[in-house]
C-alpha cells in the first residue's frame, strides 16, 4: 500500500514536470500590427521640412558609474579597466548622446515607410552597440554577437511579446521584429548583468536618436506645429513645441537639468 502511494506521488511529479516542459510559451515572431497605417497619405516631398537640434545637459554632469567586467575573463580582457556606464553620455559643452527625439502628436494620417534595411544592435566588448536603438514597428531588427563569449539578449517589453534568446560566439545574426509600437523597451543580458540597452519601436517615421555630439535630425516632416518629446534614460521625458516651415528646417534645442536626475 505504501509502495503504491509512493508510486502515485512519483508518477504525479513526473507528469507535472512533463507538463511544464511541454507548456513552453510559443515564441512567436510578431507580424506588423494593425496599428501601422500603410494606407495613410504620403508626406509631400515638395513641402516637407525637417527638425534639427541639440540635446544638452545643464549643470554638472554626474560622475559616470564604472562597470567592472572582472567577473568574466573574456570581457575583462576586452576591457582591462572599468568602463563608464552609458546611462548618461555627455560630450563637450554638455551635449547628450543616446537621447531619443520624436514627434508625439498624432501622425497617423501619414503613410509609414518600414525601412527595408534592418536596425542593428551588436554585442561587442560585452556591451551593446548602440546603447539605444530606434526603429519603425515592423522593421527587422538584426542582432549580432561579435564577442568570443556567449550572450543572451533579453528585452522586457510591456506591449510586445517578451523573448530571451542566447547567442553563442560565432552565431549567425538573429532577426527579430517588434510588431507593436512601444517606447523604451529595456534590454538586458542575464549572462553579463551590466549590459543594458533600450529599444524604441515607433508607429511612424518621425524620430531620431542623438549622436555623440548630441545632435539629431528628423527629416521629411510635413509643415506644421508639433510637440516633440525627448527621452533620456536617466532624466526621463521632456517636451518642446516646434514649427516646421514648408521646405525649411526648424530648430529645437532641448536641455535637461543635471539636478533632475538625483
Amino acid at each position: 500500500m505504501k509502495l503504491r502511494n509512493s508510486g502515485y506521488i512519483m508518477v504525479a511529479a513526473a507528469l507535472a514536470i512533463a507538463l511544464v516542459s511541454c507548456g513552453k510559451k510559443e515564441e512567436t515572431t510578431e507580424t506588423p500590427a494593425a496599428t501601422m497605417a500603410p494606407s495613410g497619405q504620403p508626406v509631400d516631398a515638395a513641402t516637407a521640412g525637417s527638425i534639427t537640434g541639440t540635446i544638452k545637459l545643464e549643470g554638472t554632469p554626474p560622475a559616470p558609474g564604472k562597470i567592472s567586467m572582472a567577473a568574466e575573463a573574456y570581457c575583462a580582457k576586452e576591457h582591462p579597466t572599468p568602463v563608464p556606464a552609458e546611462d548618461v553620455v555627455v560630450g563637450p559643452g554638455g551635449t547628450l548622446a543616446n537621447a531619443v527625439v520624436y514627434i508625439s502628436d498624432d501622425m497617423s494620417k501619414y503613410a509609414v515607410t518600414v525601412p527595408s534595411a534592418p536596425a542593428v544592435i551588436d554585442q561587442k566588448g560585452c556591451m551593446y552597440h548602440p546603447h539605444v536603438v530606434a526603429m519603425v514597428a515592423g522593421q527587422q531588427l538584426q542582432i549580432t554577437n561579435s564577442d568570443a563569449t556567449t550572450h543572451n539578449i533579453h528585452p522586457l517589453p510591456k506591449d510586445n511579446q517578451e523573448w530571451n534568446v542566447s547567442q553563442p560566439p560565432g552565431s549567425a545574426p538573429m532577426m527579430k521584429v517588434w510588431g507593436r509600437p512601444e517606447e523604451a523597451i529595456a534590454v538586458k543580458c542575464n549572462v553579463h548583468p551590466w549590459m543594458k540597452s533600450y529599444m524604441f519601436a515607433f508607429k511612424n517615421n518621425f524620430f531620431a536618436v542623438t549622436g555623440a555630439d548630441g545632435k539629431f535630425t528628423i527629416g521629411n516632416v510635413p509643415p506644421g506645429t508639433y510637440t516633440i518629446t525627448v527621452w533620456q534614460e536617466k532624466y526621463g521625458n521632456k517636451t518642446a513645441s516646434v514649427t516646421v516651415p514648408a521646405k525649411g528646417a526648424a530648430t529645437a534645442d532641448v536641455s535637461f537639468s543635471a539636478a533632475s536626475g538625483d
Binding site: I9, K24, A85, E162, V191, H192, P193
Partner: protein, 305 residues
C-alpha cells in the same frame, strides 16, 4: 529509553541534507541578486545540452541547478530510507512531503525559466525553498536521539501558551519571508517588508522572553532563546545593511558586489531565522504539555502502565 528507533546514520544524513539545502538557498539567492535567473534560457536542459558554457551569470544559474539536482536526488533517497527504517508513520509521511516539496520546487524553478520569471512563480519558488529547508531541519530534529528519548513534560501555565506563541512566531516569520520575496522579485515595495520586520522582531522577542521568564531552568529552552536572539539580531543588522547597500549603489551599474553579498546574507539568515522559529515551535510541542490536567492524565497513564 528511546520512543522511536534512533538511527545515527539517518540523523546525520538529515543534518547533511539540511546543510546542503542551506547551500542551495545561498546559490539561489546569488542567482537572483546577480540577475542571472534567465542566463540559461531553456530548462531542463541548458543551452540544449547537459553542460552549458560556464561564463558570466550562467555560472550562478547552472551551479544552482546542479546543487538542486543533487538535493532532489538525495531527498528521494531520504524518503526511501525513512520508508525502510523509520517505525513512526508520521515521520515517514514527513519524508514523503519533503520529497513532494522538492519536486514541486523543481517544477517551479523550471516555470520561472520557461515563463520568464513571472512574479507569482518567482515568489512561490523562493517561498517553497524555505518550506523545504524547514522540512529537512524538522526531519533532523525528529530523527535525533534527543527527540526520541523520554523527556519530562513541563507544564506551561502562562498565557498565551508558548506552543501557540511559537507557532504564530514561525507563521509570522514565514509571512515575512513571503513579503521579502515579493519585494525582491518586484511584486511589492519595501513598505510591507519593513512592517513585517517590526512584527517578527516583536514576536521573536516575545517568544524568547516567555522562554526565559517561564522556563529559566530548562536547558533546551535556554538554547532556543539564545538562538532566537542571535538570529533576529543578525538578521536585523543584515537587513539594514542590505538596504544601505541598495541606497549607496543606486546610481552605480548593478549588480554591485556589496549589494549582492549583503542581500544574499540577509536572505540566508532569513531562512535560518525561520528554521529557528520552527525548531522552537517543535521543541515546545515536544517538551510542554498542552495543559496541566492533560499532563496529570498522561502521568497517571504512564504510572498505570
Amino acid at each position: 529509553m528511546l520512543a522511536g528507533n534512533y538511527n545515527k546514520s539517518l540523523n546525520r544524513f538529515c543534518i547533511g541534507m539540511s546543510i546542503l539545502t542551506g547551500g542551495l538557498l545561498t546559490a539561489g539567492a546569488l542567482v537572483t541578486s546577480n540577475d542571472a535567473g534567465l542566463s540559461i534560457p531553456d530548462w531542463p536542459l541548458a543551452y540544449n545540452s547537459l553542460v552549458p558554457p560556464f561564463v558570466g551569470g550562467i555560472r550562478y544559474e547552472f551551479t544552482h541547478r546542479v546543487i538542486a539536482g543533487i538535493v532532489a536526488t538525495l531527498t528521494v533517497v531520504l524518503a526511501a530510507w525513512l520508508y525502510r527504517v523509520e517505525s513512526r508513520g508520521w515521520v515517514r509521511t514527513f519524508g514523503y512531503i519533503a520529497m513532494c516539496t522538492v519536486i514541486a520546487q523543481a517544477v517551479l524553478g523550471g516555470m520561472t525559466v520557461i515563463f520568464r520569471q513571472p512574479v507569482p512563480v518567482s515568489v512561490a519558488h523562493a517561498c517553497v525553498a524555505q518550506i523545504f529547508f524547514c522540512s529537512l531541519i524538522s526531519l533532523s530534529l525528529f530523527t535525533s536521539q534527543w527527540w526520541q528519548e523520554d523527556v519530562t513534560a513541563i507544564s506551561d501555565t502562562g498565557s498565551p501558551k508558548l506552543r501557540a506563541l511559537a507557532v504564530w512566531t514561525a507563521a509570522a516569520t514565514f509571512f515575512q519571508l513571503v513579503l521579502g520575496a515579493a519585494f525582491r522579485h518586484g511584486g511589492s515595495g519595501i513598505g510591507p517588508h519593513l512592517v513585517g520586520a517590526a512584527v517578527v522582531t516583536g514576536m521573536v522577542f516575545w517568544t524568547a522572553g516567555s522562554l526565559r521568564n517561564r522556563f529559566p531552568s530548562s536547558a533546551p529552552f535556554k538554547v532556543c532563546r539564545i538562538v532566537l536572539h542571535s538570529l533576529i539580531g543578525m538578521q536585523l543588522i543584515l537587513g539594514g545593511a542590505a538596504w544601505w547597500s541598495r541606497i549607496i549603489t543606486k546610481n552605480a551599474p548593478q549588480p554591485m558586489p556589496i549589494m549582492v553579498y549583503l542581500t544574499v546574507a540577509h536572505v540566508v539568515f532569513g531562512a535560518l531565522t525561520l528554521a529557528g522559529t520552527v525548531v522552537v515551535a517543535l521543541v515546545s510541542y515536544r517538551l510542554l504539555t498542552a495543559s496541566l490536567s492533560r499532563a496529570v492524565a498522561s502521568s497517571r497513564a504512564q504510572e498505570a502502565m
